[in-house]
């Protein structure tokens, strides 16, 4: 249900890109301003609202005891879901998550899981019987581009504010969820040989290819995903990965200050 982008606009954007410029004046590796509001949903164990440019994403974390998976009897469970609700964009339709929504959720999950930000064994209550289940629910409110990176910031921000609700279930006193890393996704688009980070909605709609790199606090990589129907040259990938690690570092610093 998206509008056709006019050729004039594509030409205009492309000409800007060739001159090294973007429509909103940013440089190719510059992120839009972002802000994080924490703990705004008191019913949730943790929550964060991220505004990245005009994009807005709300992430809520809920925890409850439950059964572990049979093959990991001593480990807690993380379940990540993303709702691309129709209020966030004319392109989102009501219904269960489509492939884009599922991919987004799995990428946010990958970051949290592969960085080992949460010690799953520490979430064990009674081995084989009861463990903590963490639900990370991403709720997109306004899609103005790059909701993946916004969701990734939101997820770790929400986890960092999460209090384990032990008292509610007679399991002792509430305590802050131990979080051991700050994984962040950084996404770049490729368009006619030009590479740009943190695309806005116009840039996203004309891009052929996206590459997301998820890094840990120490700068190492814990997740990657190429999406879109274009191709990437090897040297483009190295360039993107280098800049992504830089950007993630900057975002992490700003994020911790916020």
């Amino acid at each position: 249900m998206t509008n056709v982008i006019s050729e004039l606009k594509k030409d205009y954007l492309y000409n800007l890109f060739l001159k090294g410029e973007r429509a909103d004046g940013r440089t190719f590796d510059q992120y839009r301003d972002f802000s994080v509001e924490r703990n705004l949903i008191s019913k949730a164990e943790g929550s964060a609202l991220v505004k990245l440019g005009s994009s807005q994403v709300l992430v809520g974390v809920k925890m409850q005891p439950g059964e572990p998976f049979p093959d990991t009897p001593n480990k807690g469970v993380i379940i990540t879901n993303a709702e691309l609700v129709p209020l966030a964009s004319p392109a989102f339709e009501p219904g269960p998550p489509n492939e884009t929504g599922i991919e987004l959720a799995r990428l946010v999950d990958r970051g949290v899981r592969e960085s080992k930000a949460i010690d799953l064994e520490a979430l064990c209550i009674t081995p084989g019987k009861q463990v903590w289940i963490i639900f990370i629910d991403v709720h997109i409110l306004d899609d103005c581009g790059n909701i993946l990176d916004a969701s990734s910031i939101g997820a770790i921000a929400a986890l960092l504010t999460t209090k384990v609700p032990a008292s509610k279930f007679g399991l002792g006193e509430d305590y802050p969820l131990p979080v051991k890393d700050i994984p962040l996704a950084t996404t770049a688009i490729e368009f006619g040989d030009v590479i740009m980070f943190d695309p806005d909605s116009d840039e996203e709609s004309i891009a052929n290819t996206k590459l997301t790199v998820i890094t840990k606090a120490d700068g190492s990589i814990c997740g990657m995903q190429k999406s879109g129907t274009g191709v990437l040259k090897e040297e483009q990938i190295y360039r993107i990965v280098d800049i992504a690690c830089e950007k993630a570092k900057e975002i992490r610093e700003k994020f911790l200050e916020e």
């Binding site: 056709v4 006019s6 050729e7 606009k9």
Partner: protein
């Protein structure tokens, strides 16, 4: 309720006890006039409510800017920035062409200055290009503003738009559907875009023309 110069009103606000004064953006119930919309009430002979938001509804005779979104056997289907698409029939193209040549002349994503020929009661919109002043836009830029601000951009008797064309040294075509085409040097177009967006933002305020003149003086004086 008496005089109400340009007051902000919401749907259902009582505007007048005289039904005959009902104008655009109002409705009459039990002999009284109420606002239909969230907008500015304008008290003249009739009371009109100028909307502050809303979608463009096509009207015959309107000159607009459309973007081709589909091509069928005998029609281009054109996005006119409205809940309704426009249809440009092959016979309304200024040149006689065959059906299989259609995309050669107007392809997907092409922008055109085009006119609304007719709108029927089911909102079927027929467009026409049969006028030398209309046609394909090959260069320049298109900026979209809320169509409710278009009258302000044009100004009384075209005063605002003539001033802009002169001061900005650009060709400017204002579509009634809120799409505006500008063409000129790169920096002139940047300034034109900035100016148009400023007018959109402040359309409902008074003294705007003077402020825009000052704005342009400053921007051009700063060597922009």
């Amino acid at each position: 309720m008496d005089r109400m110069d340009r007051k902000v009103v919401i749907p259902g606000d009582l505007l007048s006890e005289e039904a005959k004064r009902s104008g655009e953006g109002t409705f009459v119930k039990d002999g009284k006039v109420y606002s239909l919309l969230y907008g500015l009430a304008n008290d003249r002979d009739r009371i009109n409510v100028i909307p502050l938001a809303g979608k463009y509804v096509p009207a015959p005779g309107d000159n607009i800017i459309g973007i081709v979104k589909d091509i069928t056997f005998s029609n281009w289907i054109i996005d006119i920035n409205s809940p309704y698409d426009g249809l440009l029939h092959i016979s309304e193209f200024p040149k006689r062409i065959d059906s299989d040549e259609m995309s050669k002349y107007l392809s997907l994503g092409s922008s055109t200055m085009i006119r609304i020929k007719d709108v029927d009661s089911t909102m079927k919109v027929e467009l026409t290009l049969n006028d030398r002043k209309l046609g394909l836009l090959k260069t320049g830029r298109i900026v979209e503003i809320n169509h409710t601000r278009v009258p302000r951009l044009i100004g009384k008797g075209g005063s605002m738009i003539s001033m802009l064309k002169k001061e900005l040294n650009c060709n400017i075509f204002v579509g009634q559907n809120g799409r505006i085409w500008i063409n000129g040097g790169a920096e002139d177009m940047d300034l034109a875009l900035k100016t148009i967006l400023l007018i959109e933002k402040e359309a409902h305020t008074s003294g705007l023309t003077d402020r825009i003149v000052d704005f342009l003086k400053k921007e051009k004086g700063a060597g922009n």
